[in-house]
Amino acid sequence: MSEKIAHIEEHRDDEASKFGMWLFIFTELLLFGGLFLVYSIFRAQYPVSFHEGSLELSVTIGAINTVVLLFSSMTVAMALTAMQKNNQKLAMILIGITLFCAAVFMFNKYIEWGAKFHHGLYPGSELMHLLDRGHHLYFSLYFFMTGLHALHIIIGMTLLFVCLFKVKNASINNKDYVLLENGALYWHLVDLIWIFLFPLMYLIT
């Protein structure tokens, strides 16, 4: 008789996995929430300066970025649907499109920040120090909030790259896709933050 090694079924709790991701998302919401709070207090105190500051930003690029992120949110949600329907190839294509959208966003961010840097406007620069309080606050918040958001885009991209490889080698499949679900949740969070960041930074009248 061959000895059979008892195969211990790995305990998996997908519901708990997802719950854990949501708990993390709560902390992220409060992180950006705190920054939005700082923004709103200072905007209430310096409404004209904030308006003037926003004129330096390109609404066109901001709008393109908004459209790109919303589209990428749809594609990653579709990737999950594809995985649930056991369509590995489609899931990979959709995750790929999401990643491409993320890259477009980062490229636009590079153009926007590059333009600011070119004009001598960056955290700690001489020009920044010459600005009056209201303008200084606006641009400090602009760099900090969009910068932190961009960092989250990079983290999200990393997560989605991992998901892409795992879909490829079938460790994410239609029986076990909670990792993709959680990666998608993080991506939607990044989109959610931008949904508020765009009007508050770019569309101030």
């Binding site: 589209f71 949904i195 569309l203």
Partner: protein, 94 residues
Amino acid sequence: MANNTTHTIEYTTLAKILLVLLFMTFLTIGITSYHLGSLTVTVALLIAGFKAFMVLTNFMHLKYESVLLRILVALVFVLFAVIVIITFIDYAFR
């Protein structure tokens, strides 16, 4: 051992949600180009709030999740609102 019983959202549904979100985006840009004074911020934030609601309920699946999770998400937003209100009250009385 808990199976993944997440509800599957159809591709066409997701596409429709995107169209709504894109419409809301252009609506925001259009509205903020008019000078509605102090009302502009409120309108822009309301639209943004609605977009966020669409993303949360549909893309992030909350529509199909457990009641517990939905209540918790709502609570986090309520908590944030309370913090903002209290801070503004504080500043108003300085």
